[in-house]
C-alpha cells in the first residue's frame, strides 16, 4: 500500500508538470480559439535561449529578464505576422498555421543556438523529502507549487479583470468582439506574449528536469491529453487533467505495463482521454458548444 501511494503521489506531481505546458495552450485557446501546436516549440525556444545566454557568462537573473523580453517580443511578432492576416478564418486553418509556426520556431531556435543538449541548474536540489511517510521529490514539489500559482493567477485574470472579460469575448466571437470595440490585435498580442512567458517558466522547469534539447518541444504531446481531459478552455481543468493523467499514467505503467510488456506511457493517456471524451465530449470543464443552424 505504501508503494501504491508513493507511485500515485509521484505520478500526481509529475502530472502537474504537464499542467504547466497545458496552461500555455488554454491561455491561447481561451483568448483566440486557436489550438496552438507551437506551444512546445516556444517552450524549447525559451529554455534554449535562457541556457545559451547563461552559458555566455550572463547572470541568471539578467538572462531570465532578457529571455522574458525575447518571448514577449516573439509573441507580439507572431500576432503581427501570422495571426493578424488570418482573422476570422476557420479554426482548422489557424491550427495548421501554428503547425507551420512550430517548424519555424524550432528551426530558428536551433539555427541560433545549435542542437546540442544543455544541462540546466535552477538551484533547487532534487532530494527526496519525507512527507507523512511518503518520500516526494523536492523539485517536483516546487514545480507543482509554480503550476498551482500560475493557475491561480491566470484564473483570477480571466474571471476578475476587464482584460479577462475581453479575452473571453474574443474567444466567443471575434467579429462580435470587434463590433463592440475590443482591440483584437492588442488582445492577441498580449495573450501570445503571456503564453510566451508561461513557456519560459515551463521551459526552465522541464529543462532542469530532462535537459534542454530538441525533445523538449515534444512535451506538447504529453500536454495534449491533459488539455483534452480538462477541457480546452478551462484553466482549472489543466490542474485536474494533469493530476488525472499523471497519476493514472504512473499507476498504469507500474501495474498494467508489466502485463503487456511496458512502454505504454506513450499511448495510455490518449486512450484515457478518449474514454473521458466519450463521456464528456468537451472535457471535464470545457464549455459545451451549442449547435445552431
Amino acid at each position: 500500500m505504501a508503494f501504491f501511494i508513493e507511485v500515485l503521489t509521484g505520478g500526481l506531481l509529475a502530472g502537474l508538470m504537464y499542467t504547466l505546458v497545458a496552461i500555455g495552450f488554454v491561455l491561447i485557446y481561451k483568448a483566440s480559439g486557436v489550438f496552438n501546436f507551437a506551444q512546445g516549440s516556444m517552450v524549447l525556444f525559451a529554455a534554449l535561449t535562457f541556457v545559451s545566454i547563461v552559458e555566455r557568462g550572463v547572470h541568471s537573473a539578467a538572462a531570465f529578464a532578457i529571455t522574458l523580453v525575447t518571448m514577449l517580443v516573439l509573441g507580439a511578432l507572431i500576432e503581427r505576422v501570422v495571426l493578424r492576416p488570418l482573422v476570422n478564418r476557420p479554426p482548422i486553418t489557424l491550427f495548421m498555421a501554428t503547425l507551420g509556426l512550430s517548424f519555424v520556431i524550432e528551426g530558428l531556435a536551433q539555427t541560433l543556438w545549435g542542437a546540442q543538449v544543455h544541462g540546466l541548474e535552477l538551484g533547487i536540489e532534487d532530494v527526496p523529502l519525507d512527507v507523512l511517510g511518503v518520500s516526494l521529490s523536492k523539485f517536483d514539489m516546487f514545480a507543482s507549487g509554480v503550476a498551482a500559482a500560475l493557475v491561480l493567477v491566470l484564473g483570477l485574470l480571466f474571471t476578475r479583470t476587464r482584460l479577462g472579460l475581453s479575452l473571453r469575448a474574443v474567444a466567443d466571437d471575434q467579429l462580435a468582439a470587434l463590433a463592440v470595440g475590443i482591440d483584437l490585435q492588442w488582445i492577441w498580442g498580449v495573450v501570445w506574449a503571456v503564453a510566451g512567458a508561461v513557456g519560459l517558466v515551463t521551459g526552465l522547469l522541464w529543462g532542469a528536469r530532462v535537459g534542454v534539447q530538441f525533445s523538449l518541444s515534444l512535451i506538447v504531446l504529453k500536454a495534449l491529453p491533459v488539455l483534452i481531459i480538462g477541457g480546452f478552455n478551462s484553466i482549472m481543468g489543466t490542474i485536474v487533467g494533469g493530476l488525472i493523467v499523471g497519476g493514472s499514467e504512473k499507476l498504469a505503467e507500474v501495474y498494467l505495463g508489466q502485463l503487456v510488456g511496458g512502454g505504454i506511457e506513450n499511448w495510455f493517456p490518449y486512450v484515457l482521454a478518449l474514454v473521458f471524451l466519450l463521456w464528456r465530449p468537451t472535457g471535464l470543464f470545457g464549455t459545451a458548444s451549442i449547435e445552431r443552424l
Binding site: F35, V81, V82, P85, L86, R89, P91, I92, T93, F95, M96, A97, L99, G100, L101, S102, F103, V104, I105, E106, G107, L108, Q110, T111, A115, L221, L224, P225, I228, F232, V260, G261, G263, I264, N266, W267, Y270, V271, A273, L274, L277, L278, P281, T282, G283, E291, R292, L293
Partner: protein
C-alpha cells in the same frame, strides 16, 4: 492546346457531371499518363525512379487518402502514418502466411485491415468534434506503433521489428527493379486516384462535403452522419493502408514501425495543406513539392555552399523554409497549389478576352 469552350456551360447533365469536364484536361491527362508509362521508363535512371518518382507516387496516394478524410469530410487526422503502418505490416503478413497470394490481392487486404482500424478509431467522431478528435487519431498513431513494436508476431519475430519486402511478383513477372517498382506504384496510384476522383463526384462525395461544411445541417437534410463519417474514415484509411504497403514494398524494401511515426503523419498532412485541401490534384502537387524541395535544397547546398553549410544547418533551414511556406500559403492561398494551378488554367481559358 486550347481551353476554350462555350462559356463553361455544358449542353447536358451527363456532360456536366463528367469527372473531367474539360476536353483539354482529358487530353492533357491522357498525354501525362502516356508519358508516365511509355516515355519515363526508358529515359529515367535508377536514382530518379527510386528516390523521386516512387516516393512521390506513394506520398500522393497517402495524401489523397488523408484529403478524402480531412479535405472532403472535414475530420482532422494526425494518424495517417499509423494506418500506413497497418497497411505495410498487413500486406507483409498476408504474403508471409499465404505463400502464393497475388501481390495486388495482398495490397487490397492490407487496405482493408487499415480500413478496419480506421473505422475503429473513427468511431468516436460521432460524439467528439473539432480539435478534440485529434486525440482519437493520435491514440491510433501511438497505439499502433507501440503494438507493432511490442508484439513480435507482426514482424515474424524479428528482434527489432523490421520487415523486409518479398519479391514483387505480378503474374510471374518480377517488378523488383527500380523501373518495375515505379510502374507498380504508378499503376496502383493511378487506379485508386481514378476511383477517388469518381467518389468525390458521387453522392458519397457530396455527403462528405455536407458533413464537412456543417454536420448539424447535414443531419437535418437526412444525411446519415455516423455512416458518412465512418465511411470517410474507412476509405481514407484504405488509401493510407495501400500507400503504406507500397511505401514498405516498393519504396524502402525494409521498414520498421518507427518509420511510420508522427513525423510521417505530419508529412502527409503538410502535403494536403500545401497541395490544397479538398482537391484530388492537390495531393499530387503537394507530394511533388514535399519530395522535390529537400532534393532541390540539397543540390543548391552542395553546388553553391559546399563546405559552408553542414547538414544540421541545412535541416534547420529546411524547417524554417517549410514552416514559413505553410504560413504564407495559408495566408495567401488557403486552398493551396491546386487553386493556384486552377487560377492559371482559368486565365488561359479566358485569354485573350480578359487580361
Amino acid at each position: 492546346m486550347s481551353y476554350h469552350d462555350v462559356a463553361g456551360l455544358s449542353p447536358s447533365h451527363a456532360a456536366d457531371s463528367r469527372v473531367l469536364p474539360l476536353r483539354a484536361d482529358r487530353v492533357a491527362l491522357a498525354l501525362l499518363i502516356l508519358v508516365a508509362y511509355a516515355v519515363l521508363p526508358f529515359v529515367g535512371n535508377d536514382y530518379v525512379f527510386s528516390a523521386i518518382l516512387v516516393p512521390f507516387l506513394v506520398l500522393s496516394l497517402a495524401g489523397l487518402g488523408l484529403n478524402l478524410l480531412t479535405g472532403y469530410a472535414g475530420q482532422l487526422s494526425l494518424g495517417s502514418a499509423a494506418f500506413m503502418a497497418v497497411g505495410a505490416f498487413g500486406a507483409y503478413n498476408c504474403m508471409l502466411r499465404n505463400p502464393g497470394l497475388p501481390l495486388f490481392l495482398s495490397f487490397a487486404l492490407a487496405g482493408l485491415f487499415a480500413a478496419a482500424v480506421g473505422v475503429l478509431f473513427g468511431l468516436p467522431s460521432l460524439r467528439i468534434k473539432g480539435f478534440y478528435l485529434i486525440v482519437s487519431t493520435l491514440a491510433a498513431q501511438f497505439f499502433v506503433q507501440w503494438l507493432l513494436t511490442r508484439v513480435s508476431w507482426f514482424s515474424n519475430d524479428n528482434a527489432s521489428g523490421v520487415i523486409t519486402a518479398p519479391p514483387l511478383l505480378v503474374l510471374g513477372h518480377d517488378f523488383s527493379s527500380p523501373v518495375g517498382r515505379y510502374l507498380l506504384s504508378l499503376t496502383v496510384t493511378l487506379g485508386l486516384t481514378w476511383l477517388a476522383r469518381n467518389l468525390v463526384h458521387s453522392q458519397t462525395g457530396r455527403r462528405f462535403m455536407a458533413v464537412r461544411d456543417m454536420d448539424t445541417a447535414a443531419a437535418v437534410l437526412g444525411i446519415p452522419i455516423l455512416r458518412t463519417k465512418l465511411l470517410a474514415f474507412a476509405i481514407s484509411s484504405f488509401y493510407c493502408g495501400v500507400a503504406g504497403a507500397l511505401w514498405a514494398f516498393a519504396y524502402l524494401g525494409t521498414v520498421e514501425p518507427h518509420g511510420f511515426d508522427l513525423k510521417r503523419s505530419f508529412q502527409v498532412l503538410f502535403i494536403i495543406i500545401i497541395g490544397g485541401l479538398g482537391s484530388v490534384s492537390g495531393a499530387f502537387l503537394g507530394a511533388a513539392f514535399i519530395v522535390l524541395l529537400p532534393v532541390a535544397m540539397d543540390n543548391v547546398a552542395v553546388r553553391f555552399f559546399a563546405g559552408v553549410i553542414d547538414p544540421g544547418h541545412l535541416e534547420n533551414a529546411q524547417k524554417l523554409l517549410f514552416g514559413s511556406l505553410i504560413i504564407f500559403l495559408l495566408i495567401k492561398e488557403p486552398q493551396g497549389l491546386a487553386r493556384l494551378f486552377q487560377r492559371l488554367k482559368e486565365r488561359v481559358r479566358a485569354w485573350p478576352l480578359e487580361p
